[in-house]
């Protein structure tokens, strides 16, 4: 059985997805990176391997997400693509009627306007936390509520509280005040969902021509309170949360790998599931390329540098690991 692996690694979560030769979904894994992307990749591979049939063979690997260069170096990537490209490929395949993609992840968010299966416009945010999942994560932690329970409890709201939260920093003080005033937790939770929907649309969605059907994907789409809040804010019921919405980037990367390997007709660069047991070593150095003087992590396996990551730009991630440090 020939399968294609996609990996989407961000700053908060990692998603691995397998598709078959026909491009159909086979399996996926969704994990928190918890600040250790390499260990998360290894854990994801271990989980997938344990669920694969014996005759499974990985014929190609695609990597996406903010740590895509690192993932490709560790795992052996055949194709490396931006998240927008990967999300679009997967959405066009899974929800062909989509006109707008709203993607809200742990620390970034995107909007992609599709017309006739092509990207007509897009917008992104990775800087302002107020339009991302970390906004909800942070407030849930403050309220002592597991993020997994957030959505269902928010749906029990009867009188949502308006959280004046254009910024996650100021939302917290407003939320504390609402707690002190005796508002129900459920009403505060749904108020936070509404605040995130508002923030997203007034930041990433600003000036974009949102048409339906809207496809809502990314980890935040697990939150049913957010789905309702988005429908309210967009004034439409035509918001689709596709199956495997959290892994759409990884599915897209796998589809791109399938496309690439079909055209290339060479062996995959995939290093095998054995790398999940490899011992990687990390050592830092300071990049001298610009005044930012970023600290770069150099990752080695068996004494050989295989990848570099960190810093405010992707310069070291993109460099072949054979190059030595000290730009």
């Amino acid at each position: 059985m020939n399968l294609y692996l996609g990996i989407d690694i961000g700053s908060v979560t990692i998603k691995l997805a397998l598709i078959d030769e026909g491009g159909w979904f086979f399996d996926s894994v969704y994990l928190r990176t918890q600040g250790s992307p390499i260990q998360a990749i290894q854990q994801g591979l271990r989980l997938l391997k344990g669920r694969l049939p014996e005759n499974a063979y990985v014929g190609g690997v695609g990597a996406t997400g903010s740590a895509r260069y690192l993932a490709a170096a560790i795992i052996g990537g055949d194709v490396i693509k931006n998240e927008i490209t990967s999300q679009v490929i997967a959405t066009v395949r899974c929800v062909p009627e989509a006109k707008t993609i709203i993607e809200i992840g742990g620390q970034d968010s995107k909007i992609i306007i599709l017309r006739r299966d092509m990207v007509a416009d897009f917008g992104m945010n990775t800087v302002c936390a107020a339009g991302t999942g970390s906004f909800l994560d942070h407030q849930a932690a403050r309220l002592g509520i597991a993020i997994e329970d957030f959505g269902d409890r928010a749906l029990r709201s009867r009188n949502p509280v308006r959280i004046a939260g254009k910024c996650t920093v100021f939302a917290e003080s407003d939320m504390i005040q609402k707690q002190q005033m005796g508002h129900r937790t459920e009403d505060i939770l749904y108020g936070l969902c509404q605040a995130l929907a508002r923030n997203y649309l007034s930041n990433v969605g600003l000036g974009k021509e949102v048409r339906t059907p809207v496809v809502f994907q990314g980890g935040v789409a697990f939150n049913r309170g957010m789905v309702r809040a988005l429908k309210e804010a967009l004034e439409t019921e035509d918001v689709i949360v596709p199956p495997h919405h959290e892994a759409m980037g990884a599915i897209g990367a796998a589809l791109l790998a399938l496309e690439e390997m079909t055209a290339r007709k060479t062996r995959t660069e995939f290093k095998g599931f054995e790398i999940s047991e490899a011992e990687y070593k990390t050592s830092p150095f300071e990049c001298q390329a610009c005044p930012n003087l970023c600290e770069i992590a150099q990752i080695s396996l068996d004494g050989q540098v295989i990848a570099r990551c960190g810093g405010r730009c992707d310069m070291w991630e993109r460099k072949p690991a054979a190059n030595t440090a000290g730009a």
């Binding site: 903010s66 800087v127 910024c167 930041n203 600003l206 992707d314």
Partner: protein
């Protein structure tokens, strides 16, 4: 790198206005000021070769010319400053950092290739 030089130039325009209200939280690294032009240009050259042309503009400067529509949309509240345009199209409305800047450019490159 030589392959990149044959490809079309990607024009990155940063529009800001010193008089406009700013987000007080100031999350991330602010690259919306012309003061960062030299260092940002240097980083973009390392990442994309000579393919990317970076320019800064104020709202006053774009009132007439090809970006006049952007000026009108900012004034209508459809877009907020600072604004990052790639090939004249708004990609980031609000603060951005180096990662977001390079991702916006990378998407443009991948879309052109795909």
């Amino acid at each position: 790198m030589p392959e990149m030089k044959r490809q079309a130039t990607i024009r990155v325009t940063v529009i800001d206005d010193a008089r406009s209200p700013k987000c007080e939280a100031r999350c991330g690294l602010d690259l919306s000021s012309p003061d960062t032009f030299k260092s940002t240009t240097k980083v973009l050259r390392r990442l994309f070769g000579g393919r990317v042309k970076l320019e800064y503009a104020t709202l006053d400067a774009i009132q007439a010319g090809p970006l006049a529509e952007i000026d009108a949309r900012v004034k209508a509240g459809e877009l907020s400053l600072p604004l990052l345009l790639v090939n004249g199209k708004p990609r980031v409305s609000g603060y951005f950092d180096l990662h977001l800047l390079q991702e916006s450019i990378q998407v443009e490159i991948e879309m052109a290739a795909h």
